[in-house]
C-alpha cells in the first residue's frame, strides 16, 4: 500500500496529479478499442434501420420456447419474406414429431450405381442455394466412389464423372447426415441451435444459428453445409411445400443439413432421395415398427455403419446383398 495520505497537502503534487503521457495514451487506446468493439457489436442493428431486419426477427425466441401462436406468427412472417425475396408463395408448416417413431435409413451398396439422382433430387426438394440446377455443392448427399474392397474413405472420389456408371471394380456409397443417436454436433453448438427431436431427426433452428460452424467441425461425416452467400435459387425451382425446421430457404450465415425430408416423412411419405433412386437402393422406415422394411434389413442383412469407433451410433445403415 502507498504511504498514508496526510490530512494537509504538502506540495502541489498531492492535490493535482498530472496525467502522464503514458497513461493518457493507454487510456485513449483502451477507449478507442472499446468504442470500436461497441460499434462492431451494434452493427447488426443497422440492418434494422435499413429495413432488412425486422424487430420481430431480431426478437424471435428459440423454436423450442415458442408457443404455437408465436410459431404461427413466425411462419407467416417467413412466408412473406419468401414472397418478397423470391416471388414465390411458399407454404411453411410446423410438423411435429409423430409419436412412437424413430426414423432410420438404409442403403444397399450392391444396388447403388452412382447415378447421383438422389443428390440432385435432394436439391429439388430442399431448396438449397445453388447457382444453377446442376450446382451440387450444397446437396446434403455426397456420393463417394471407392475401389472394390477398399474400406478407407480417404481414398474415395466424389468428383467422378465417367461416361457411364457403374464403373468396373468400383462401388458407390452416398453419405448424408446420419441423424446420430449420440450426435457430436448438438454437443458443441454454443447456442443450442441444433438438437435431437423425439423422432430421432437432428433439427436446426435456422433463425437461432449464429453460423460459428462448430457443428461442422464436430461432425465425423462432414454432413453439414454452410450458407456462405445469400441464397441464390431460381424461383421456378423452389419447392413450395416447406417446413420451419427443414426445407425453407435458409438465410446467409446458417448451417443446414439433411433432415430425412421431415416435411415429407413426418406426414408418412418417403424422403425424396429414396423416391428417385432408379435401382431401389435406399430404404427408409420406423425402427420402432417391427414389420418395417428397415427392421427387415437390420434382421436379415449384413449391416454396417461408418466410423463406428467414434460412437455416434448413427441411424444410417449400409448393407449389401445377399
Amino acid at each position: 500500500m502507498a504511504e498514508k495520505p496526510s490530512p494537509v497537502p504538502q506540495t502541489n503534487r498531492h492535490v493535482y496529479q498530472p496525467l502522464s503521457r503514458r497513461s493518457f495514451l493507454r487510456g485513449a487506446a483502451a477507449s478507442a478499442a472499446a468504442m470500436a468493439a461497441l460499434a462492431a457489436a451494434l452493427k447488426p442493428l443497422l440492418a434494422l434501420e435499413k429495413g432488412e431486419l425486422t424487430l420481430d426477427a431480431l426478437l424471435q425466441k428459440h423454436y423450442r420456447r415458442m408457443s404455437p401462436e408465436e410459431i404461427a406468427t413466425v411462419l407467416q412472417r417467413l412466408e412473406q419474406e419468401c414472397q418478397r425475396a423470391h416471388g414465390v408463395a411458399a407454404q411453411i408448416r410446423d410438423l411435429r414429431p409423430l409419436p412412437r417413431v424413430q426414423f432410420a435409413c438404409a442403403l444397399n451398396l450392391t444396388r447403388c450405381v452412382g447415378c447421383r439422382r438422389c443428390a440432385h433430387a435432394c436439391l429439388s426438394e430442399n431448396n438449397q442455394s445453388r447457382e444453377s440446377e446442376t450446382d451440387l455443392n450444397m446437396s446434403y448427399i455426397r456420393v463417394l466412389e471407392l475401389d472394390k474392397g477398399e474400406m478407407n474413405l480417404e481414398t474415395s472420389n466424389q468428383y467422378y464423372n465417367p461416361e457411364t456408371v457403374p464403373q468396373k471394380d468400383k462401388y458407390y456409397m452416398p453419405v448424408q447426415c446420419h441423424q446420430c443417436r449420440q450426435p457430436p454436433c448438438t454437443k458443441v453448438c454454443p447456442v443450442q441451435a441444433t438438437w435431437q427431436e423425439p423422432d430421432g431427426i437432428i433439427a436446426i433452428d435456422y433463425n437461432w444459428c449464429i453460423g460459428c460452424r462448430y457443428c461442422m467441425a464436430a461432425c465425423p461425416y462432414d454432413a453439414r453445409r454452410f450458407n456462405f452467400n445469400k441464397p441464390r435459387i431460381h424461383p421456378a425451382a423452389i419447392n413450395r411445400n416447406q417446413d420451419y425446421l427443414s426445407n425453407r430457404i435458409r438465410p446467409k450465415g446458417v448451417v443446414e443439413k439433411c433432415t430425412f425430408c421431415l416435411q415429407r416423412t413426418r406426414e408418412g411419405r418417403y424422403p425424396a432421395c429414396l423416391e428417385v433412386c432408379p435401382t431401389g437402393a435406399r430404404v427408409f422406415g420406423n425402427l420402432l415398427d417391427p414389420d418395417s422394411e428397415i427392421n427387415y434389413i437390420l434382421k436379415n442383412k449384413r449391416v454396417y455403419i461408418l466410423k463406428e469407433e467414434v460412437s455416434t451410433r448413427p441411424k444410417f445403415y449400409y448393407f449389401f446383398d445377399p
Binding site: P68, C115, Y159, G268
Partner: protein, 213 residues
C-alpha cells in the same frame, strides 16, 4: 478470511450456480410448448399435430421417379397399352420345331444368364401364361411368382422391402405405398441394368492442394 477472499468465493458460487442453471435449462428434454390457446387440439397418432398445418400437396413433379426400364420398340405395355400373345397367335399359329433354329421374335435378345431356354418361363401351350415347376400356369399378373422360381432370396427381399423401390407413404395408415413388380425395372429377356451417364458432380474446389483425381 478477508473481505477480498470472501467476495471472490461468493462471486464464484454465483457464477457456478448460474452455469448449473443455464445447463439445466438448456439441456432439459424437449417439452412441447404448453398453451391455453383454443386453437390447439391434442396430437393423435393419425392427425397432424397442429391446427395451423394445412395439408401439403403431394405434387412430386420436381422429382424424377423414372424407373430403369426404358420402353423401346414394341414394349407398348410400359406405355400403357398391353397386348397378349394370343392377340397375334390367334391368327398365327406358334411354331415349335426342335430341329430348326427359331427365327421368329428375333428382336428378343435373350441375355438372362444361364436361363437360355424360352420354355423355362413361357408356358408351352398357353402363350399368355408363364410356367411353374410342375407345368402349371402362372398368370401374367403374377409374374413375380415366376421370377421367384429361381430368384428366391431376391423375391423374399422384395417382399420384405430390401429389394426394389417403394414409393408413396412409409406409413400405410396415412396413404398408399406402391411397390413395383420385377418386370417394371428388369427387362425379363435382358434383366441386367444398362450403365447410365451419371448426373453432374459437385465442382472441384478452386484452391485445392491436389489436382482433381
Amino acid at each position: 478470511m478477508n473481505r477480498g477472499v470472501q467476495i471472490f468465493w461468493r462471486r464464484s458460487m454465483a457464477i457456478l450456480l448460474a452455469m448449473v442453471w443455464v445447463h439445466a435449462e438448456a439441456g432439459s428434454p424437449y417439452q412441447p410448448p404448453r398453451t391455453k390457446s383454443e386453437f390447439i387440439f391434442e396430437q393423435t397418432p393419425s392427425s397432424p399435430a397442429f391446427v395451423f398445418v394445412r395439408p401439403a400437396s403431394t405434387d412430386d413433379s420436381h422429382l424424377n421417379k423414372k424407373l430403369s426400364r426404358q420402353p423401346s420398340g414394341l414394349q407398348f405395355s410400359l406405355l400403357g397399352w398391353s397386348y397378349d400373345c394370343t392377340d397375334c397367335h390367334r391368327l398365327i399359329a406358334p411354331r415349335w420345331r426342335h430341329e430348326l433354329p427359331m427365327v421368329e421374335h428375333a428382336g428378343v435378345q435373350l441375355r438372362h444368364g444361364n436361363n437360355r431356354f424360352c420354355l423355362n418361363c413361357h408356358h408351352p401351350t398357353n402363350r399368355n401364361a408363364f410356367v411353374d415347376y410342375d407345368g402349371s400356369e402362372i398368370r401374367q399378373t403374377a409374374v413375380v411368382q415366376l421370377c421367384a422360381k429361381c430368384h428366391g432370396p431376391t423375391y423374399r427381399d422384395w417382399a420384405g422391402g430390401a429389394h426394389g423401390r417403394r414409393n408413396g407413404f412409409w406409413n400405410r395408415a396415412k396413404g398408399d405405398q406402391t411397390r413395383v413388380s420385377c418386370v417394371e425395372c428388369h427387362d425379363p429377356h435382358d434383366p441386367a441394368f444398362k450403365a447410365v451417364k451419371p448426373l453432374p458432380p459437385p465442382s472441384y474446389p478452386a484452391r485445392a492442394a491436389h489436382p482433381p483425381p
